[in-house]
């Protein structure tokens, strides 16, 4: 006789863990099932070479919503945030470099070396972006309204945001409306003249997406990210022990709250009985009946993989087949015998760590980024890729033997679908493209490399269960965000199957490691279970 649970959560990623915590807090006994031997989904720390550990996938981040940090008391559960004053170090092939700090004026000082005009503009830009981000942040924690017939509550909440928007003043408000659909390249050009600075800021609008800086809508993604972290460029904070430490703390908080977590438990099917969810079946054949099932897996895997289509409206299935979730990123983790020396820092008399302890941006110009994107449109990976790099061991030496280092490299663009070939054949070419690109900026790097781990989009799908290898469970494009994430009319965490819910990044807001999707989902799930 099969065990009976009140709620089963599929997947042990950060959003699933956040959802588990909030559901347990309300007295439910959620059972979280993780396919792999470790929880964390895309936010994990793994040993990829004897003695060398790193955040195998997500390497910077989030940050989690403040409310989540507090509610889950993650600090008490062992989360220790390591911050570096450096956010981004951007070298150029000519051996120059731009460093952006969390501190606006320090950054402006650096920018001066490239453009006095831009240096003067930067603080104004940072402030304006922060104001816009504050509004967008309101939307992150909002359950998207039903645009068919918004409830009084939906309207009230939107009005509250609207009121804040009005607080911006007409001009800024119109700016915000105008910015969203714009190309990030146009957005940054409205403020800055220097191509390197433009590229560093615009990159936030294309990271992890099938967009180039000239793609309309890339500004919306940039703003979505600024909403979670209101600075001109991305965050470089990391937990001590890597991203796995974040999800470990979340897991511990969830358990303490009363959630049960089983690893090595792959869900093979979501069981549905006359229109309502009835439980799940594990790959092992074991069946677990439950009153409700929450899927932290991406929408395509959930609806095209785990649910028998006969239980779904045909038009829903068709739309889900059109839900775009083909990844464009590859990841390389490198074990280094010593810190590589960047040509751009040769003549700097300050400790290299002062520049390298944040993220390292390889993508010296808007056109460089756009050309990198162009390849992916035709099913090829970029020959001169955009790289987002971290050397976590500079802030957290515990990840590698003393004196040694780890380098974590995100590579774009590597389309999931290759033309006339496949990823089993293209691993080596991709690896050497990444290493050659790195060597252009740090010539001694190949010599210091002890080992490397390469994750192609296909690996992202096979190892981490991300459909199409998409790190964000589906494109964050204008037509797949907010009330349209994952689908129009299905943006409120419920699904066509009664008591089957979504809580992953494939739901609003679905960006990075904020955990907002899990928190919003838990709220809606509790509401509908109470009914």
């Amino acid at each position: 006789m099969a065990a009976q649970r009140d709620i089963v959560i599929i997947g042990g990623g950060h959003n699933a863990l956040v959802a588990a915590f909030y559901l347990a807090k309300k007295g439910l006994k959620p059972l979280t099932l993780e396919r792999r031997e470790i929880v964390g989904g895309a936010a994990i720390t793994e040993e990829f070479f004897p003695g060398f550990r790193c955040s195998t996938l997500a390497h910077a981040g989030g940050p989690p919503l403040l409310s989540i940090l507090q509610d889950m008391q993650l600090a008490r559960h062992g989360l220790q945030k390591l911050e570096s004053p450096v956010r981004i170090f951007a070298p150029t092939p000519e051996g120059r470099s731009l460093t952006i700090y969390t501190d606006t004026h320090a950054s402006a000082g650096e920018i001066k070396a490239f453009s006095t005009k831009d240096a003067e503009k930067y603080p104004e830009f940072a402030a304006g972006l922060a104001r816009a981000a504050a509004i967008a942040a309101e939307l992150l924690v909002l359950t998207p309204p039903v645009i068919e017939k918004p409830s009084a509550e939906d309207i009230w909440k939107l009005l509250k945001v609207g009121k804040k928007v009005r607080g911006l003043g007409k001009k800024e408000m119109m700016r915000l409306i105008r910015w969203g659909p714009m190309a990030a390249a146009d957005f940054v050009a409205e403020f800055f003249e220097n191509d390197l600075l433009r590229a560093v800021i615009a990159a936030r609008g294309i990271f992890g997406a099938a967009l180039g800086p000239w793609s309309a809508g890339s500004t919306a993604l940039l703003l979505l990210r600024a909403a979670a972290d209101p600075y001109p460029v991305g965050n470089s904070a990391q937990p001590r022990g890597g991203m796995g430490a974040l999800t470990a703390a979340m897991a511990s908080a969830a358990k303490e709250a009363g959630a049960e977590i089983r690893t090595g438990a792959e869900v093979a099917q979501i069981l549905v009985k006359n229109g309502a969810v009835n439980g799940i079946a594990l790959a092992s054949g074991e069946e677990i009946t439950a009153k409700a099932v929450v899927s932290g897996a991406d929408p395509r895997r959930t609806f095209l993989g785990l649910v028998d289509p006969v239980h779904l409206p045909p038009s829903f299935v068709v739309k889900m087949q059109h839900y775009r979730s083909q990844g464009t990123v590859a990841k390389m983790n490198i074990a280094l015998d010593a810190l590589p020396s960047f040509t751009a820092l040769k003549n700097s008399n300050s400790d290299p760590a002062n520049h390298l302890a944040g993220r390292i941006h390889v993508g010296p110009g808007i056109d460089y980024l756009e050309r990198a994107f162009d390849h992916s449109k035709y099913g090829e990976f970029s020959t001169a890729p955009y790289l987002d790099i971290m050397i976590p061991t500079l802030t957290d030496p515990s990840l590698a033997p003393s004196g040694k280092h780890v380098m974590s490299v995100y590579m774009q663009f590597a389309p999931y679908q290759l033309k006339n070939t496949d990823w089993t054949k293209q691993r080596e070419p991709l690896a050497s493209t990444i290493l050659q690109t790195l060597a252009q900026y740090a010539p001694d790097l190949p010599g210091k490399m002890l080992a490397h781990q390469l994750l192609t989009p296909l690996d992202l799908e096979n190892i981490y269960g991300l459909s199409g290898g998409h790190p964000f469970h589906g494109e964050l494009a204008l037509d797949q965000i907010f009330t349209m994430r994952p689908l129009l009319n299905w943006a409120r965490y419920s699904t066509p199957v009664k008591n089957l819910f979504l809580c992953g990044s494939g739901t609003h807001p679905g960006n990075g490691l904020t955990g907002a999707s899990g928190q919003n989902a838990a709220r809606e799930i509790l509401r509908s279970l109470r009914k």
Binding site: M174, I177, A216, K319, M484
Partner: protein, 528 residues
């Protein structure tokens, strides 16, 4: 003592003329000033090669608003639209795709390529008509200001909300996608045949500096679907006597209504005193006074050239400077002494009477865009061709023909060299591209005209040669066109109005901006 008018309209393009006509219709004394010797702006017919009357720029018509045709009684003034039959897409493989204005035929033709697509094509057409029905009233609407609490604005927003909710769930889904997606992604959901998607997606990029994979192009696709002739959506046609025929008909209607039209009267300045417009100064120094000035030329000319910047608020000027033009298309007009013959479909059949589209694949279209992004004209461009002489022989000597080719991409800003240096290369690239499908083209050319974005700017005054007076990108539409807070045809200067394609609902020979602006002007100054 100089003559005084109620209104001066700057520019004798179709919108300027429509605007003038509607003002005169309300009893105003109107003067319309055109820089060139010929009326029409980008909608002109000119005899470039002796005996051959080219529709130099705009070459097909579809979007002209029916209410304007009615109100101004344009048929009586000589407007005659001759239908354009279908679209023929020759393929490098030697095959072709030929869609005609005949459901059965088109269906069978598409079936040759894909049974599924033939099915989907019907459905697609139906739902696009639904979308057009939804958007149509918006074309006739003064854009509401979403940031204001003015009841009139709120009423419009509620009206839109209600209409949206009245759509079926499927239509709502399609509409939201149309407003946010790329033409390629949108069409990928419907069809599998590459050349069908490529040719259809072309309507999504015309006049924009976007590729078929750029979000926002699905809307432009719809914008071009909106064309109506005799109430039938998605039908395109020629104007008898060339596109200039439309402008002449509107011009004649305007004159009959009492509009005084002066050609070769280039405006140099708009007279502004204490924040109020009072007339214009011509390049020859002549001052003409009026209680209202309505400018149909684009915002860059209007606000940066014709007006002293000290008369305008700084943040408004910033908005005008940020407004994107980015001309991306050129034109090649050829005088032929015989018809081109396509290898894919030899002979001179009906396929030559429609549009012929060089858009063999999605990648072809996207690669054409990629080159433009980096400041080069496409070495393998998208070309939309028509032979007006097969429908309207009057525009060429007996037995001779005209091939009118719209070409994309031709970026206004070149990475190297100037358009004057590259004009020949550009034109020859177009001819060579056509020759790959119709090899005889090179032997039948008796006259040619290569038009680059720079030429469009020089001749018509359209900044950066943008045929729509500014990109039809999402951030430049509806209440954001041309500038946030200035979408109601008014400007920071009292008694100065905008009535060109740079205002809602934008480009194409539609006339809607001219009409809507006139209605707003009359609201302010009252009818006489």
């Amino acid at each position: 003592m100089p003559k005084r008018y109620d209104a001066i309209v700057i520019g004798g393009g179709h919108n300027g003329l429509v605007n003038a006509a509607y003002l005169a219709r309300a009893g105003k004394k109107v003067l319309c000033l055109e820089r060139r010797y010929v009326l029409g702006g980008a909608a002109v017919t000119e005899e470039i090669v002796p005996g051959f009357k080219f529709s130099v720029f705009s070459y097909v018509v579809s979007l002209l608003r029916p209410e304007i045709i009615r109100d101004l009684d344009l048929p009586r003034h000589g407007l005659e639209i001759l239908p354009l039959d279908g679209t023929f897409t020759p393929l490098p493989s030697g095959d072709y795709l030929w869609r005609v204005n005949d459901h059965g035929k088109t269906r069978r033709e598409i079936e040759r390529h894909s049974k599924l697509d033939a099915e989907a094509y019907e459905e697609f057409g139906k739902s696009m008509v639904q979308m057009c029905r939804f958007v149509k009233p918006i074309l006739g609407m003064i854009p509401p200001d979403p940031t204001s609490l003015d009841p009139r604005d709120l009423k419009k927003l509620i009206f839109l909300g209600k209409r949206f909710q009245s759509l079926s769930s499927e239509d709502r889904y399609n509409l939201v996608q149309l407003m946010t997606m790329s033409a390629a992604d949108f069409l990928d959901q419907w069809f599998e045949t590459d050349c069908l998607k490529a040719t259809m997606s072309a309507s999504g990029i015309i006049g924009t500096f976007l590729g078929i994979r750029s979000p926002g192009t699905a809307y432009v696709l719809l914008h071009h679907y909106m064309g109506e002739i005799d109430g039938a959506f998605r039908s395109w046609g020629f104007s008898r006597g060339g596109t200039g025929g439309i402008s002449n008909a509107i011009g004649s209607a305007a004159r009959e209504l009492g509009v005084e039209i002066r050609t070769e009267a280039p405006v140099a300045k708009i007279l502004v005193k204490d924040g109020v417009a009072g007339g214009v100064v011509l390049e020859n120094g002549e001052e003409i006074h009026a209680s209202v000035v309505s400018s149909s030329v684009d915002p860059r000319l209007t606000f940066l050239n014709f007006i002293d910047s000290r008369e305008l608020p700084g943040d408004f000027l910033d908005e005008v400077r940020l407004y994107k033009f980015r001309g991306s298309s050129g034109k090649v007009n050829l005088a032929l002494d015989a018809l081109p013959e396509f290898e894919a479909l030899p002979g001179f059949g009906r396929h030559l009477r429609g549009a012929m589209s060089i858009s063999p694949s999605m990648d072809y279209m996207e690669r054409a865009y990629d080159q433009a992004k980096y400041g080069e004209f496409s070495r393998r461009p998208y070309i939309d061709m028509v032979i007006p002489t097969l429908t309207d022989p009057s525009v060429a000597p007996p037995g001779k023909h005209i091939l009118s080719c719209f070409v994309q991409y031709a970026p206004y800003k070149l990475a190297s060299g100037t358009w004057d240096e590259q004009r020949e290369a550009f034109g020859n690239t177009v001819i060579n591209t056509i020759a790959e499908y119709a090899p005889n083209i090179k032997n039948i050319i008796v006259g040619k005209q290569f038009i680059t974005p720079l030429d469009i700017e020089r001749t018509t005054g359209l900044s950066e040669g943008n045929i729509f007076q500014g990109e039809l990108s999402l951030e430049q539409l509806f209440f954001l066109r041309p500038a946030a807070g200035w979408a109601k045809y008014r400007t920071p200067i009292k008694r100065l109005y905008m009535c060109g394609s740079a205002t809602h609902p934008g480009g194409g020979i539609m006339g809607a901006p001219g009409r809507l602006a006139a209605l707003e002007i009359l609201k302010d100054v009252g009818r006489s």
